[in-house]
Symmetry: C2
């Protein structure tokens, strides 16, 4: 029998209790030992719930109980999670977590402490909810040099973009509905501005490339500027608009970016709709692989946390090696990365505007949709971001009185 | 340093050598030890190749060399692979294999021998080529009770069906092209009749449900009867036709089947085209997850073999538990499974034929496409296979002079 403790009885914490109860028998069989939930830490009271009698408000109870070998941290936020987790690892207790902020900021350090103590720090649930991605990166794709990871890593924004595409609604209307249905927070910034996806791609990049990728270094653009008219153009062009988090290695240089992107309808990520997430990985021998599933939600996330608990129990005094050094990786600026831009701008005379556009961009593909007049839209050819941005500036200066309505990256 | 041997220097075997050479540094780092390729077994000569000096024709050389700790069996076929692998495991050498025939037939026994000897028998490459699916099933989805696995498990048939759909060509024409391009064997039976997919779903079902599923018990139907006209109807209906291998558990009963299936274009498997494979798994807490990638080919398959070598080297004297007992699982007959059928039949008078159809099937949806006359096509409502088959028979008897052209299952 192995005693475990859960820190936090919120959505994920209660999900973990539910999963451990529902699938008790098969979980114990796979862990090879009986898993006994001894403590749940939370400052609130939960009278009448199954955890009533194992609730504690004092973390020291758990930390000082030498029978507790595995702790699941599902509180979220950097503090006090970081302090709690570090103390646990230093005491020789394995920790599993769903906390992306904690892992993105302190993953390398906590992995090192776990390694030094022959225990484990596992975080499958911190990226992609229930989708197995951390373990496959660590243990399955070991024959490969990974050179690209691109994912739809945030369910809220994917729900919003899918609904905008399907129903022709604008961003604000769909955001409101997502908030009403509990898919988006009252303060939706972390999701819609891409911050959540940014932390997740930082974690995946660090694991894939074996060095610390700081999330603050990752170029991050959200979806708040995407309009219903952009969606109409995307449809006309045979594209979907998705918020992609991507990280690529070329000639020993790595860049990372979170940005809305027009992708072709035959791209495997294009069919990833609603609250689903997917992560696309490219390796030098395996080629393309993709992992798909629910990226959030109580039970899918709890499924990943419990799978980590099982792994921690199976490897109580044996470190499962991860390669994520504390050495910082310097990312290349995206200015030198090639992109194509989709650009829309106001226009009083389409003929004149098109001429002006052609004077700035060498080779453009104009797009016209019915019912949308007084504007010109086009896709540029592939060029370095730095140069494209200069040209957009130049366009703004040449066409003084007219506004640029949208600039959206287009997948090659 | 750990010595390893490869049995068979065909496509996969030479791929394994290539991967071990190309990514040597990162592979050794992940394995935690230097991997040294000491022998390659093959009856042919390979003068001038990198393996010239380590080639042997005598398996005893490898078996009796106590420094060899891991053997990669990539010969294919049941014999002599089975004899070689069993001998190796009994001698305390871990074995990794890409051989689906071997695993489907003897997997349970070989896993048990490996367990008894504290070594490993690994077979990630036997299903889905490079796609990580065996390890995720064993190690990631451990919190879940799996109740469905559905996959596109054969790249050759998926290439053929994708091309038929895209280009409006008939089966024979596309098969010929696939053979010319090396995507299909000269004798394509194993692929086009579904036998290959059948062995793979047998392996996945055995692992997911923990008991021996015999591939001979699985209802298997190939794609040879799918015509270009069927594809036209599928397109009209918003469906794709895919060869699906599926295995479902309901109320403690399991059924498994390989069959062409019309699936909705918004199903995640619908966008899996060409030689790509994908495996869709449903668990009681994780919900839906999908794994996607190249299901065959030299390097993707070699990537999975080498990942298994790395895992075997990391766990030299420690069994990685798999739950696949030798107890046979009795499958439920598909007669009691609910399906919908798409049916086409010759018709001299559509009005009369439709009336006759309605006299047999309660509630049908007729489909009409341009340029196809003298036939009637429809989709039945969902009903047990047994009853549907009876009704098709009845139809044959009622409409004596006219032929039934197609019967294809439709996903609900």
């Amino acid at each position: 029998m192995v005693d475990v403790a859960i820190l936090g009885y919120g959505t994920v914490g209660s999900g973990v209790v539910e999963v451990l109860t529902t699938n008790k028998e098969s979980i114990n069989k796979r862990a090879g030992k009986k898993i006994n939930l001894k403590y749940v830490l939370d400052l609130r009271e939960f009278p009448g719930t199954p955890i009533e009698n194992i609730l504690t408000k004092d973390y020291e109870d758990i930390l000082n109980d030498s029978s507790v070998k595995v702790i699941a941290e599902v509180m979220g936020g950097v503090e006090p999670a970081y302090t709690f987790v570090k103390k646990a690892l230093l005491k020789g207790k394995s920790v599993v977590t769903s906390n992306k902020e904690l892992v993105a900021r302190h993953g390398a350090e906590l992995l090192q402490i776990a390694k030094d103590n022959d225990i484990n720090f596992l975080f499958e649930a911190s990226v992609g909810g229930g989708i197995p991605i951390i373990r496959p990166l660590n243990q399955s794709l070991t024959a490969d040099e990974i050179y690209e990871i691109t994912g739809i890593l945030n369910g809220t924004t994917n729900f919003i973009l899918s609904k905008m595409a399907d129903e022709g609604l604008d961003f604000e209307t769909v955001l409101k509905e997502a908030q009403d249905r509990g898919y988006a927070e009252k303060n939706p910034e972390a999701d819609v501005e891409g911050f959540d996806a940014c932390r997740k791609i930082a974690i995946l990049s660090s694991l894939a490339f074996g060095m610390q990728v700081d999330f603050e270094d990752i170029y991050t653009e959200g979806i708040t500027k995407i309009s219903d008219v952009d969606m109409m153009y995307a449809k006309k062009l045979g594209y979907d608009i998705k918020l992609l988090a991507t990280s690529k290695k070329k000639d020993q240089k790595v860049y990372a970016m979170v940005s809305p992107m027009m992708i072709n309808k035959d791209h495997p990520l294009s069919n990833v709709n609603g609250v689903f997430n997917a992560i696309f990985v490219k390796g030098n021998v395996i080629g393309d692989v993709m992992f798909y599933g629910k990226g959030a939600g109580k039970l899918p996330t709890a499924s990943a946390v419990v799978a980590d608990i099982v792994d921690a129990v199976k490897h109580l005094e044996r470190n499962i090696v991860s390669f994520w050094s504390t050495n910082k990786m310097e990312l290349t600026s995206i200015e030198s990365v090639s992109s194509r831009y989709f650009i829309r701008l106001d226009s009083k005379s389409n003929e004149i505007t098109r001429k002006q556009i052609k004077s700035v961009f060498n080779d453009v593909e104009f797009v016209k949709i019915e019912d949308v007049n007084n504007e010109v839209a086009f896709i540029t050819e592939s060029e370095e971001e730095g140069k494209l941005k200069q040209k957009v500036e130049e366009l703004k200066n040449n066409i003084v009185t007219e506004d640029i309505l949208s600039v959206i990256r287009v997948d090659k």
